[in-house]
């Protein structure tokens, strides 16, 4: 299985998958503190005010498949825009896209668009796309648009879901009323939410650790 990893960078790519080709794509976006950026090579400095993720994937060969996992922590005045398009052009192709985003500040923004297109002839397709956002403060904005267009009658399943929730005081109180202090409560919720998107994708320990540092850094500033 091929694997593509994009960490803290804007991307614009078009990919075509051939017969039986399987691809995994991991997209992580999170702010780095100066300290973590200095000590780690190979990761670009974030968080620039605008990050754009633009991916076009064509499943052109029979039996090809793509699994995409995106976890983003958008802080400060950053605006993350994501557009992922997946075209099913052949039989027995699979696509699965899960994207989770936490917005930590009043000024943080995310817009997300997932376009799944099942063209005539793409029989026995299985596809699923989901986008979930968690707002930590009032004012943060998340737009979510999962689109699904189906032009083939003989498919197995096609699902899409989207939800935006807020971490509210009642939730913090509930955790605290069980003995958990405020800082730990926030960290548990944000980490649990984002790492939930990474459960079934390959990720190295270094990538994961660095991501978790980014999360802690944002919460530290709060």
């Amino acid at each position: 299985m091929d694997r593509l990893v994009f960490i803290n960078e804007s991307i614009k790519q078009k990919l075509s998958l051939a017969e039986n080709e399987a691809l995994e794509i991991l997209i992580l976006t999170y702010p780095l503190t100066r300290a973590s950026a200095d000590t780690t090579n190979g990761f670009q400095q974030s968080q620039t005010p605008e990050i754009s993720i633009d991916l076009d994937i064509s499943l052109d060969g029979e039996g090809s498949s793509v699994l995409i996992r995106q976890a983003s922590l958008v802080a400060g005045e950053t605006e993350l825009s994501t557009r992922v398009s997946i075209e099913h052009n052949a039989k027995k192709c699979r696509s699965n896209l899960l994207s989770k985003c936490v917005l930590s500040d009043r000024t943080s923004k995310s817009s997300w668009q997932g376009n799944v297109l099942i063209n005539p002839g793409a029989k026995d397709t299985i596809t699923y796309e989901e986008n979930r956002n968690l707002l930590l403060t009032q004012g943060a904005k998340a737009q979510s648009e999962p689109n699904l267009e189906i032009f083939e009658g003989d498919i197995i399943s096609a699902g899409h879901a989207s939800a935006t929730g807020r971490f509210e005081y009642e939730q913090l109180f509930y955790l605290m009323s069980r003995g958990i202090d405020e800082r730990t409560a926030k960290s548990l919720v944000v980490r649990g939410f984002l790492l939930g998107a990474l459960a079934d994708v390959s990720i190295t320990e270094a990538e994961l650790e660095h991501f978790e540092q980014g999360i802690e850094a944002v919460l530290e500033e709060k």
């Binding site: 955790l175 069980r178 958990i180």
Partner: protein, 244 residues
């Protein structure tokens, strides 16, 4: 002996006074049932004891073993030994039940339970309360049915072993079997831990399982009359008209 003492407690919410001088003393091992009409301030009392900042204590005191706890944040009150089973338990996306409860148990006991022991302990307690094991990996309360949420509150009670437990209408929304499971669960926890209980309820069903030592009639933000189990029967038969 542990004792929770509430003295002349007056509490306001958003500028409106809800509690008008509550007096209540609960000793270790005792069960106090509180019954009162809708909107009389029972949940307000529960939240005030647990330390929800929305509720302003205007007057009076809440003492745990002689120490005033009003200045403690909710997490410190939990560590001091208080537990509130909420009337409407909050849903939290992002954190699964197992990780949440492990963090809570670690915080309250001040130890770090290892993952293996934890999984065993959690599974044993979940099975006692007939909560399916896969709930451990679901987000806390998210999408749980009303009854499932209530059982999960009792699971927490058993794991956190408080000195005093406030159960705010833990019996409402439970089916007959669940009522029995919850009643027996609370009794088992009481047997092991001997905590004092404040049990807020509208029915006597749960009181069939958990025998109250005292029943308090609560209306207009205060305790109007206290007595034994017969007081509960009286309420069920005649309603609150005698007190209003």
């Amino acid at each position: 002996m542990n004792v929770l003492e509430i003295e002349d407690l007056q509490v306001g919410v958003d500028g409106k006074q809800i509690l008008n001088g509550v007096n209540l003393t609960v000793n270790e091992g005792e069960t106090h049932a509180i019954m009162g009409p809708n909107g009389s301030g029972k949940s307000t009392l529960a939240y005030s004891i647990a330390g929800h900042p929305k509720y302003d204590v205007l007057h009076g005191s809440i003492k745990l073993n002689g120490e005033e706890i009003q200045d403690l944040t909710p997490d410190l009150r939990a560590k001091a030994g208080l537990f509130l089973a909420q009337q409407l338990p909050t849903e939290i996306d992002g954190i699964n039940l197992s990780n949440f409860l492990r963090a809570a148990v670690n915080a309250v006991t001040g130890t770090q339970i290892n993952v293996r022991d934890w999984v065993k302990l959690l599974q044993a307690e979940m099975s006692n309360l007939k909560i399916p094991v896969e709930f451990a990996n679901r987000s806390v309360n998210l999408g749980f049915s009303g009854g499932e949420k209530k059982r999960t509150e009792i699971l927490q009670l058993k794991l956190l072993k408080p000195k005093f437990a406030i159960l705010d209408e833990t019996d409402s929304g439970l089916d007959v079997d669940a009522l029995k499971i919850v009643g027996e669960g609370v009794n088992a926890a009481k047997g092991e831990q001997g905590f004092g209980t404040i049990l807020i309820t509208h029915h006597t069903h749960l009181l069939d399982y958990i025998k109250p030592d005292f029943v308090h009639i609560f209306a207009n933000g205060k305790v109007l009359e206290s007595g034994g189990a017969e007081l509960a029967e009286n309420v069920i038969k005649n309603g609150y008209s005698n007190w209003l």
